[in-house]
């Protein structure tokens, strides 16, 4: 099968490539990018004129809820949502039931994705057994089984000694430790950002310092151990600055930010909107500005969604007891393009943050349009306007604060391993 993508603006930040060209895919690999490729060479031609042709987008932070919590999402619906959003690879967190802290669960995820999924799935194993924060997981075996990173995402590794040993131990296997940085003693019973909105709504606040102190600790532990640290869903001005300074010192650290944290503030919680309840919480306008600056100057390496599907019954309750998180796979691309429209970042940087940036952060062998690379390609119409309608989301859960928002830009064709898995 030969697919020819004709006349699109090909942006491959992994090679600083940005020009209008044709791209040829043969037998699951990219075989040519040239100014003009003869249409006769292809079985299928995609007219991409006026559109972008980019490396398949990569989301290094999703929750597929499979195994164990399939009523929220499963590997089939989760990967379908991914490809609808333009993602060709996703890395899924281990907080499943059972926790992905052993090779059986990892292999289940990989096999299920291979057999029934729509895109590449790279499981992330747990740092500690059962994500209990006490005993290190068998990282070597997890790596062998296919995990590229470890994380106890959803909760921090509170014990400093355990985190130190995790960073030391992970070095033997060359895998990244992804940290959910949160000092639970400072979070207390908080349910949203600590600030004026929380005061007004009478809801308990989670202060930014709860995130920053733990980010600082983990960055320093990475510096001390030489381990490779990736800070998940950075949400504070202080956190961005801590990583910026650490990178300047040469610490082996990367970080990600989510579209909701660079788009919304805690004002979105007003009306006790449980679709705006997440962890880390939506922060202040100053934090949003700092995250945008971090995306622009290279401090933040990747945009990741923290796609967190929840059943309606888990959100349609009083704010305090609602589950944290939103679905993000189908809205990440247009929200990133909003940053381009606002002049915060340019288009190649936006593509980098969604492809080679995340690939590099977790060492995922994807994120390039290099010749002979696996043909994971996303064709994007940056001017396509659409409105977020809950019922139209592919994800099994519909918990998004962006319902009704006018979006500009969407994937029109998603190709994974040379196979068209989604088109609109």
């Amino acid at each position: 099968m030969k697919i020819l993508i004709k006349g699109g603006r090909v942006i491959d930040p992994s090679r600083n490539f940005d020009q209008v060209a044709d791209l040829l895919i043969e037998d699951g690999k990219i075989t040519a990018i040239e100014a003009t490729i003869n249409t006769n060479a292809a079985d299928h031609v995609i007219d991409a004129s006026g559109q972008l042709v980019t490396p398949g987008l990569i989301d290094i932070h999703v929750h597929l809820r499979d195994p164990g919590l399939e009523y929220k999402e499963d590997i089939i619906t989760g990967t379908l949502a991914a490809v609808a959003g333009g993602f060709t690879s996703v890395a899924c967190m281990p907080n499943t039931k059972p926790v992905n802290d052993n090779k059986a669960v990892t292999q289940y995820m990989i096999n299920r994705a291979k057999n029934d999924g729509y895109c590449n799935v790279f499981p992330i194993g747990a740092i500690t057994k059962g994500m209990a924060g006490e005993t290190l997981s068998e990282m070597g075996e997890l790596k062998e089984a296919g995990c590229l990173a470890v994380s106890d995402d959803g909760r921090p590794v509170s014990d400093g000694e355990v985190m130190r040993r995790a960073l030391e131990y992970s070095r033997s296997f060359g895998i990244t430790v992804v940290s959910h940085t949160e000092d639970l003693s400072l979070v207390g019973e908080g349910v949203m950002n600590d600030g004026f909105v929380a005061t007004e709504l009478g809801l308990k606040g989670i202060p930014w310092v709860a995130e920053d102190t733990m980010t600082a600790r983990d960055v320093m532990l990475a510096e001390f151990t030489g381990g490779r640290l990736h800070v998940a869903h950075i949400s504070t001005k202080g956190g961005v600055e801590i990583v910026r300074q650490a990178k300047a010192r040469g610490v082996n650290v990367t970080c990600e930010a989510t579209p909701h944290h660079f788009t919304l503030t805690d004002e979105a919680v007003r009306g006790y909107n449980t679709d705006a309840k997440m962890n880390p919480p939506l922060r202040s306008a100053a934090d949003v500005a700092a995250i945008r600056a971090g995306l622009a100057d290279g401090t933040i390496d990747a945009i990741a969604t923290d796609h967190a599907p929840h059943h309606i019954d888990e959100k349609n309750v009083e704010f305090r007891i609602a589950m944290n998180g939103i679905v993000g796979l189908e809205t990440a691309l247009p929200l990133t393009l909003e940053l381009v429209a606002a002049g915060t970042i340019d288009l190649p940087r936006a593509v980098a943050l969604l492809s080679c940036g995340p690939a590099h952060a977790l060492n995922i062998p994807r994120g390039t349009l290099d010749i002979a690379a696996p043909a994971d390609v996303t064709v994007i119409d940056p001017s396509l306007e659409w409105i977020v309608v809950r019922e139209e989301l592919k994800s099994k859960s519909k918990n998004t604060p962006f319902t009704g928002r006018k979006m500009k830009g969407a994937a029109t064709c998603t190709i994974v391993g040379g196979k068209i898995v989604f088109s609109r």
Binding site: E200, N316, R320
Partner: protein, 310 residues
């Protein structure tokens, strides 16, 4: 002037004119409470459900008496007897209550926003009788009725509110309402009990009770929740009483004719000394008395207020 609110979710949503109307209406109801036959037929045939999912004695009693004096049929649900303890969601509880066609639900709930949640889903009127640390509008209104009785006008009064500001729904409701009525509000309490940005609701924040109380017309003390001891907010009640409690010496800093208020129940010897609690400046029982009149006014006004007081 017409009252255009179906629900009373908080004083945040009431205008100065609304508040004026509620207080004026309450004044007219206060007289009924002193009659030998304390009942008028105003809400005859109406059903009021008092759904108290959090412990309360005086507010529940006050709403119940208010409803009965207006001849409504009042039914009480409390947290321990409701299905909530059996795992039922608030939405299902709401649907079941709705199926019984009440006219008004008065709700007290431990979660901020719970009355808003119900108001969006129910056809009847919802009155917030206290939600989490958010609002307690009827308390603020009865506080203002009491201030008006003793001070004539609320406009221009210096009101000091002292205690656990962070966890107090009374404070938020009073801040919204007092500011709309032209009062100058000063808050004081330990730093651990002062929430972020509270001054943006229209208050001067102090960490020293004396600064807040100086030349005040009204001193409102808040209850310190003894169960919060050990949550690192306070080292000891003894120290709290010494530095943030109201006693005769501190009260002297206020105006000589200042009134002392407390939403109750009081911790004597903690936030307020017995001498002050029983002293000539306290109007605490007057607040309780006014509570019934204010709640009668709220029930009457959200019902449409068609019938005059007989």
């Amino acid at each position: 002037m017409a009252f255009n609110h179906k629900h009373i979710l908080g004083t945040e949503y009431l205008s100065r004119e609304d508040i004026q109307l509620i207080l004026d209406t309450a004044e007219s109801f206060r007289e009924i409470n002193t009659r030998s036959i304390k009942k008028v037929p105003t809400l005859r045939g109406k059903t009021i459900i008092n759904a108290f999912f959090e412990n309360s004695t005086r507010t529940r009693l006050s709403f119940e008496i208010a409803g009965k004096r207006l001849s409504a049929d009042t039914v009480n649900i409390s947290g321990s007897t409701s299905s909530v303890t059996k795992g039922e969601t608030l939405e299902d509880t709401a649907r079941n209550i709705e199926a019984m066609h009440p006219d008004i639900i008065v709700i007290r709930h431990g979660h901020s926003g719970a009355p808003h949640y119900l108001a969006e889903r129910l056809h009847c009127s919802v009155i917030n009788a206290g939600d989490g640390a958010h609002e307690h509008p009827s308390q603020a209104l009865l506080d203002m009725l009491t201030m008006r009785q003793h001070k004539g006008e609320i406009d221009g009064l210096k009101v000091a509110i002292v205690g656990d500001i962070a966890h107090s729904r009374v404070v938020r409701s009073n801040l919204y309402a007092l500011n709309k009525m032209g009062a100058d509000v000063h808050l004081a309490g330990p730093g651990t009990m002062m929430p972020s940005g509270i001054e943006r609701l229209g208050a001067t924040v102090h960490y020293d009770i004396r600064a807040a109380i100086k030349d005040a017309d009204v001193v409102m003390m808040l209850r310190i929740q003894l169960e919060r001891q050990g949550l690192t907010l306070l080292p000891t009640l003894r120290e709290y009483a010494r530095f943030f409690g109201l006693n005769d010496d501190v009260l002297k800093l206020a105006k000589a004719d200042a009134i002392v208020m407390h939403p109750g129940p009081m911790n004597r010897g903690v936030e307020i000394s017995s001498a002050v609690a029983d002293g000539p400046q306290n109007v605490i029982l007057g607040q309780v008395e006014n509570g019934v009149a204010v709640r009668m006014a709220l029930l009457y006004l959200v019902s449409g207020g068609e019938q005059a007081v007989e």
